[in-house]
Amino acid sequence: MDIKNLFENEYLLLDGAMGTMLQKKGMPLGAIPETLNVTNPDWVIDVHRQYIREGSRVIYANTFGANSLKLAGSGYSVPELVGAAIQNARRAAEGSGAFVALDIGPIGQLLEPTGALTFEEAYEVFSKTVEAGRGADLIVIETMTDLYEAKAAVLAAKEHSDLPVFVTMTFEENRRTFTGCSVSAMCLTLEGLGVDALGVNCSLGPAELLPIVEEIARWTSLPIIVKPNAGLPDPETNAYNVLPEEFAAVCKKMLSFGARILGGCCGTNPSYIGKLREMLKEASEEGLFQNAAPDSVLSLCTPLKTVRISEPRVIGERINPTGKKRFREALAAEDMDYILSQAFSQIEAGADLLDVNVGAPGIDEAGMMVKTVKALQSVTDLPLQIDSTKPEVLEAALRVYNGKALVNSVNGEEASLRAILPLIKKYGAAVVCLTLDENGIPPKAEERFAIAEKIMKRALSFGIKKENILIDCLVLTVSAEQKAAMETLKAVRMVKEKLGLKTVLGVSNISFGLPNRLSINTSFFTMALYAGLDLPIMNPNVPSMMWAMKAYKALAAIDENSLGFISWSRDHEPDDVIVKKLRAELAGSVPKAPAAVPAGVPALDIRKAPLHPAGCSCPECAGLADEKRVREILKAMETGMKAEGRRLTAGYLKECDSMSIINKVLIPALDTVGEKFEKGRIFLPQLILAADVAKECFDEIKSSLSAGGTGAAKGKILLATVKGDIHDIGKNIVKVILENYGYEVLDLGRDVPPDTIVEATLREGIRLVGLSALMTTTLGSMEETIRRLRAAGADCRIMVGGAVLTPDYAKKIGADFYAKDAKQSADIAKEVLG
């Protein structure tokens, strides 16, 4: 009998806990339970048999922790233990018709971005277990708290076997897993990946799981699995507090939400399974069997955030190198910070989703896409739209994306449909379909509609759900083809009304070649929203566009009682005020606040200024102009005005070249700040603030420079907290101080392995390396790092610091300098780099 038929129309009973049963049999403290498959097979078989006797139709082989990382050093291999476990389960099941599941638990190490294990490594680990367990009838992935890890396991299971896959994750009472994954994200992501059933196990008793199961039912149409603990353990006795009758009674309440596959986790034993069997028999007779009826509105997600497209949402378009020199340079230099800063400004501006496009000449697009997606999901929680024309780039991104993504795009060309639709299906994404084909973009709305309909049918035939199909009716520039705008809008309306699909448009293209583009853009945007646009791809940093969106939602009664509009108004300046300010600034007539002269800088004496014509460039005048600039920048630094720093720098760039701004303005200003800090006239927080402003100024200069490094700062210094140590507050202070003295700092972070430090030192030609350690246990890795640096022949000096170090010890481990505090690091840097 095929197991899939088994839960199609009836309940399926799983087993109960294995670990607790083995402990009762005398498994020694601290033993690896999976080794018992070999050392005590009789125990394992007996536990399986007890569950089968009570009615389990599926037994989980004793393979929960059988992965290559956990077994390392145990003396056993994965194939050995998994093979034995499946054999034991088979023997126990003989003659009973019970099915055997390969049980896969978490690896036991944290995945990136929080942990060190990469997604690809996790996939490899799971693949080995799956390969060893192909003799099972199905694969169960359970007790997952990290959606990323669950995804790696599902991909491994599907790509290394044809077995059905069940997945259960472990939630806390706040309906989140420890890593923050929500119920909706689990359902959207795992159902998309094509698992056969999903649900929850462990951590809570049935009563606490009840609301979680209810929520799962709202997000998936798959059969729901529930394997609760026997209540909660007592802190003193460690005994669980829910008895079998009550356990079964509460589980019964879950059936109406669509729970169909049941069993027990920690603290349960065969009598819990027996009670479940009785309860399920009763329920079948009472006709409680229920299919879930989930949400059918498109939602996209990351583990932390689910964005439901129940109303228009903004896709931020700024992570895209097209027409942006600074962005292309950042890509070439793999400057992730720049790319992430583009993400943050859009998030602050109110984007709901972020488009990611990293295609540029000379870039390994797939590699860069993976890097960018991983970097983005390490700091933001907005769902992403993966944007590329290349199937291999899309696939690379979809693999490592954690959640449910939107893909841009497929079009009506046969080659495109064939290459891209299978990827959408396999990875469970949603897809934007462009209404063009082999013959280009048809002029008429009806023709575009026809292409949309054709793509929709093809997508459906691939098994892609209707809600995951979105249509882009394509915006053409109205200056080139005036009638095109209305055709596009007509097509949007037709797609919306006749096909019932969500729509996407890149709205900024409309105004190319016309004056006052903003007014064309905002008007067209409003018209498009009215025609049925759901997802505009636009620049959220343009206030008028965001205002248009908010206004539309208020007018269309989407924003109930205009509350959203009102709260937006509280935090954002209205259009006309912004425009007025911009105009005034351009005209140079912004009423300037009288510049308070910061202490320590001689005031500019107007009487001493030579009587030369305005704009004169003689040394005397230039010197005076620089002095004035230093004062302005200093003020911005000391008051922490980042935007002001940027604005000032942009102004200077119009007047003189970037190197002289760096050498004659920024560095002297930073020196002044440093001096004041030394003399105790300003304190650390101001120093940090100043560094933040300086960073903005340098960024502004970078973005104006053409390709080719800047060589801006005085020299590059590498900083790291050594392997094994997380204490990084001190190292971070050192970083701030050094940056304030005008040095460029390459900060490798904390817990940095010696190899990484050596590699970076050689690659970047670093001449000064700073290492930090705060624990006696990590002095060893500091010593090791120094030894490796010397052995590799790195031409650098090494300074060390941290609470446990002494000058003597620093000398003993071969460091060139010991720094008692952060201030000394600047003196050392001066000595080494000048």
Partner: protein, 224 residues
């Protein structure tokens, strides 16, 4: 052995300022308001939990535990205790995410959030300690002694966390170099009952830095 949550409603920021080397506090009103903003942001993402287990203690051994503390300083600390509590606490992974994210708001924010989080984990431990003794009864007990302090080896950390089943109960992981993730996490031992001889309040006596650290040199300590 059960997992408990701790809800922190406020932080006074005193420890954080000390970690940042600011004995005088924040005079600048703009800085002070930024500090408050960081506090609010941090408090909103902290998802603090702790897990503990109480073991009978006799002859220097925890009965029924795969983890045993080694070394002279911990022996002295637990001397005379009848029971020993193993405790692990964490602020959760949301705090690490916030710290990673702060980098894009500015260095000031990052350092403030980081230092505040270090303070927060200490307050969570205070709350855990109070919770434990409200359940056990208000017995006298020693201060919290962490692996890595005195000569109690950090290497025991892995076993200690396994005994507490900390990964499953509170989502706390440890790697081969004994680093815990989420990073704002702490493990410790507390002795209680019997003829306790260990101090109830933290001292510098067993610290490998005894007196040589920057805190002491500035006339303070690294603890409250």
């Amino acid at each position: 052995m059960n997992a408990y949550k701790v809800k922190l409603n406020s932080l006074d920021g005193r420890d954080a300022l000390r970690y940042l080397g600011l004995k005088e506090g924040l005079a600048d009103p703009a800085m002070a308001s930024l500090f408050e903003k960081c506090k609010a942001r941090l408090l909103a993402v902290i998802d603090a939990r702790y897990v503990y287990r109480v073991f009978p203690f006799a002859g220097g051994l925890l009965e029924g535990s795969a983890y045993q503390p080694r070394g002279g300083t911990i022996a002295r600390h637990l001397a005379g205790a009848e029971r020993v509590i193993l405790l692990a606490a964490t602020l959760g992974s949301g705090t690490d995410l916030l710290i990673r994210r702060s980098r894009f708001l500015g260095m000031t924010e990052t350092m403030m959030v980081d230092a505040l989080a270090s303070e927060a984990i200490e307050r969570v431990l205070d709350a855990a300690e109070a919770g434990i003794f409200s359940r056990l009864g208000p017995d006298p007990h020693t201060f919290r002694y962490s692996p890595g302090y005195g000569d109690l080896p950090l290497e025991g950390q892995k076993e200690l966390l396994e005994v507490l089943d900390a990964r499953k109960r509170i989502g706390l992981y440890v790697n081969e170099s004994m680093l815990m993730t989420p990073s704002k996490s702490v493990t410790c031992l507390i002795g209680t009952g019997g003829n306790l001889r260990g101090e109830a309040k933290k001292t510098c006596r067993d610290c490998s830095l005894d007196g040589k650290c920057s805190f002491r040199q500035n006339g303070g300590t690294c603890y409250r």
